[in-house]
Amino acid sequence: MTMTLEGTAQKDVPLVEVKHLKHVYGKGSGPGLVVLEDVNLTLRSNEIVGLLGRSGSGKSTLLRSIAGLITPTAGTVEVRDMPGDSNAHGVSMVFQSFALFPWLTVQKNVELGLEAQGVPADERRKRTLAAIDLIGLDGFENAYPKELSGGMRQRVGLARALVVQPSVLLMDEPFSALDVLTAETLRTDLLDLWSEGRMPIRSILIVTHNIEEAVLMCDRILVFSSNPGRVIAEIKVDLPQPRKRLDPAFRALVDDIYARMTARPTGPAPREGNFPGSGLGMALTHVSTNTLAGMIEAIAAPPNNGSADLATLARELQMEADELLPIAETLQLMRFAEIEGRTIRLTPAGRRYDAADVDERKQLFAQHLLAYVPLAAHIRRVLDDRASHQAPATRFRDELEDFMSEPYAEETMDAIVSWGRYAEIFAYHEDDDRFSLDDPA
């Protein structure tokens, strides 16, 4: 960063302090879903901090706790203003979906927060126009959001957040709804404004699942694990701004973060990747069998020849880390691949799958599904045992809900239905929500 005030006293003022934060979703009774577990975070002035993790790691929940939008189950959140700073206080937020009011013009959207604060109309107008100008939207004051492109809309979102002069800007995946080019432009503009000190804010906290984005922007990155969300690593980024993606140091850092995100927490069930739970209680991620097959083929194909670096693979397939990892882990769960550090390697079964034709692939998949996914074996066993060879799906759903919360059970059922159908180990009838052994063929 060109502007960091290294060594000045201001550097160490903590603006946000989060201590032992825990958040549990779900009803009062029942197990509830632990989204965040013992999270600590200190945000100081003059830094951009990134929260990086997969979906379900609770990073958005953390951001919303800091914004005061939700009350955490346990722990404290303190937001302080910088001493002697009258120009900036509190927090403001930029949303992934932009969250603009479609019936208000750009100017009215930006004015919203000021109006709520009771700022007089004249000053409101002045400050709004200044913010619109700063963010490069002049000329669009009277446009409605539907008339703007995605990038322009997010600029409105940014102007709206800045105009209330927060000391901390919270950003919830602000660029992930935009196309690559637009996101890049917006990111660069934001970094320029930041480094030139033209924004009132003292610090930025940004949630992202894009590793490169985090490395491009942040001074510090907190990596979250999922289920439950914990900070598993804190990485300082000392590369000078502006950062270059092709810089070897940059690449190395991205690769390193990939490795950390795939690193398994030490403990039981080491072979099940990041799937929480074991046996029947294993929560599965619904990954299409086509995607699994595509991934096996991509790893098998040259230049990978059966073993690939995850970060390289993600670039090659144009996938984000949180898209790629569930696929890799599902392959690992079914023993079609192994993950070690940041390398994924096909097992002999994985290589056989790659070489097989359609029917052999299905047979192989069926064998592995029954052998390594306990729920699949369980459903099949129940169907085999019953004279009618039929069973209502609710039965298994209820069993799952003894182990996990409803959304996880739902996703696990979706996964098992789609894998079971592909493997032809059982049929599922959506109309009356039941499994059976009958084969339409």
Binding site: G68, I70, A116
Partner: protein, 582 residues
């Protein structure tokens, strides 16, 4: 039911509507009972006051075409008063239901029941209530008429507003929370704008159904009380009484002019304006158009005139004190106790209501009355279902034909909507003349009257459904040369089904109401009656026989609600689950 404008059908409103359970729960029961008890109390009060022989008529209606514009205006004003009342009711009750969980538990089933009960059956009660409030003045009769129209239109508006409030986009709620918008400001900035498109559409549908009740409420007899309010309805009644064919035609013409102008000058502009509140970040493909709205937007004068009102809005008081920035956490034990207390209270009121109804009915009626009412209800049920089937057989193919041809559907759609708004009771005399002239059997030939006004809902919903069929599916059907039956079975019928259910449900609800005026009709001194629950209620109302009116109304409500829960709701659920495109 909540009306869904054609372009909103796939936004999930239908889904939410259908997902609500259709088996009646205890709250439905309580709601029904409470409404019944209120009716009984009204009548009870009325009898205590021993009505004077009232003939409320300040000025006689004159069958002079020169006076017709004035009468039309007065009918229109009644309609506006009712719609204003409905809007106030909507903002109050729906907001309460959306904000308070306890109010919600009672209000939502209440609204749900209220929107499906046949209002015409309760005519006697609403009228008596208001005439008792103002026994000597015309005001009572006016209020009664307005209230009747109000009861025909408030519920679906309130329901739509409630649903909008419950489905506010989460990110915008977060923005409001984050900027600490006061509840007052949040209402103006977020809740009202978000609810506007659905509310405008439902208001339009309500008004369109309301003309029927305006006409019906202007001239009525309850026992010894006879009321004539100057308006198109009483003009029509007078014309029928005198067998004046020309005057009836004048009434038809006046009604047509009123409806067309309300559509062109009021609702089209409002719909066009409300388009900007649609919660889509992209401009809509088929923007509603209105020449009058465009005209208003272009005039400088009107914009100037409008500005002070906007200014006034800004001056509205801004209660800021009851700001709540963080959700409050209650002690779960306390919540549970409070819940129990609340349920206990509701149950107590319910029990008292049951007792009131039972005491009243058992003192005045015998068991065979009940049996007779149910029997007649079955006859009317058969009539309604049969006519819906016949109307569907006629209008579904025609509607599909029109809907698949954009040029035609653009032309026909406004006509169908106009016909749906046109109060069928204005047309009745022509049918009666025919039946009298050819000596037809009234039991058969009066039946079509009950669907005369409501069949158009089937038509315009089917047209909307057919024109919404995705082009790629039509092209796929073309490429594979689907034969005509297969094309209907696999493409057209599933595609229009959700729309058809909306139309048929509306038609069915309207038909029950219409049965009260259609099963007994007159032309001069000739009186034709068909056997049915509608005739039962109409005769009891005429005779001022309140116990039988109460019985008839209750039985009819039960029939309608049962029909909704066993037929229409499951059809909705099925459509939602299997047939919704996109």
């Amino acid at each position: 039911m909540v009306f869904l404008s054609s372009d909103r059908l796939n936004t999930g409103l239908l889904a939410r509507f259908a997902r609500r359970q259709f088996a009646p729960n205890r709250y439905d029961l309580i709601a029904l009972v409470l409404i019944g008890a209120a009716a009984v109390l009204v009548v009870h009060g009325a009898q205590q006051m021993s009505l004077p022989v009232a003939h409320l008529q300040t000025e006689p209606v004159v069958l002079d075409p020169a006076r017709l514009p004035e009468y039309a205006l007065r009918s229109t004003l009644r309609m506006f008063a009712a719609i204003l009342l409905s809007l106030l009711f909507t903002f109050g009750v729906a907001t309460l239901a959306a904000k308070s969980r306890k109010a919600e538990l009672v209000l939502v089933p209440m609204l749900d029941i209220a929107q499906s009960i046949p209002i015409m059956a309760f005519l006697a009660f609403t009228l008596t209530f208001f005439i008792n409030l103002f026994p000597t003045s015309e005001l009572g009769a006016e209020c009664a008429a307005i209230f009747l129209v109000f009861t025909s239109q408030a519920w679906n508006m309130a329901f739509s507003f409630y649903q909008s409030l419950r489905t506010l986009p989460a990110d915008l709620v977060e923005v409001s929370q984050q900027f600490h918008l006061s509840p007052w400001r949040k209402f103006w900035k977020l809740e009202l704008p978000f609810a506007t498109p659905a509310l405008v559409w439902n208001t339009m549908m309500s008004m369109s159904g309301g003309w029927f009740f305006v006409v019906a409420s202007e001239y009525f007899t309850v026992g010894k009380t006879q009321v004539t309010l100057p308006g198109i309805g009483s003009w029509l009644a007078m014309a029928i009484d005198r067998r004046d064919f020309v005057a009836v035609s004048w009434a038809v013409g006046a009604m047509a002019v009123v409806i067309v102008s309300y559509d062109q000058l009021l609702f089209r502009p409002i719909v066009a304006w409300a388009d900007k509140f649609r919660f889509e970040q992209t401009a809509s493909e088929n923007q509603p158009e209105s020449w009058f709205y465009d005209l208003l937007r272009r005039t400088r004068l009107f914009r100037r005139l409008g500005r002070p009102f906007v200014g006034l809005l800004a001056l509205l008081p801004r209660p800021r004190r009851f700001v709540r920035s963080r959700p409050r956490a209650f002690n779960p034990d306390a919540v549970r106790w409070f819940d129990r207390l609340w349920f206990g209270l509701v149950a107590l009121v319910g029990a008292w209501a049951v007792w009131t109804i039972f005491r009243y009915l058992s003192a005045n009626l015998k068991l065979h009355d009940l049996v007779a009412a149910f029997g007649l209800g079955l006859i009317t049920l058969v009539r309604v279902l049969l006519l819906i089937v016949i109307a569907s057989l006629i209008w579904v193919p025609i509607g599909v034909w029109i809907g698949l041809r954009p040029v035609w559907s653009r032309r026909i759609q406004p006509v169908a909507q106009f016909l749906a708004a046109f109060p069928a009771n204005v047309i009745f005399p022509f049918a009666v003349m025919g039946i009298v002239a050819w000596r037809l059997n009234p039991n058969v030939w009066l039946s079509p009257l009950i669907i005369l006004g409501t069949q158009w809902y089937i038509l315009f919903n089917v047209v909307a459904g057919a024109s919404a069929l995705p082009n790629d599916l039509k092209e796929a059907a073309g490429i594979f040369h689907l034969r005509s039956w297969q094309r209907w079975r696999d493409l057209i019928l599933p595609g229009i089904f959700p729309y058809y259910v909306t139309g048929a449900l509306t038609a069915s609800g309207g038909s029950w109401n219409a049965s009260v005026v259609a099963e007994v009709v007159s032309w001069g001194h000739t009186r034709l009656a068909a056997a049915g629950l509608g005739a039962f209620i109409a005769k009891a109302t005429d005779a001022g026989d309140f116990p039988r009116v109460a019985l008839g109304a209750t039985v009819m409500s039960i029939f309608v609600i049962a029909l909704n829960r066993t037929l229409w709701r499951p059809m909705y659920a099925y459509a939602e689950k299997n047939l919704l495109l996109n």
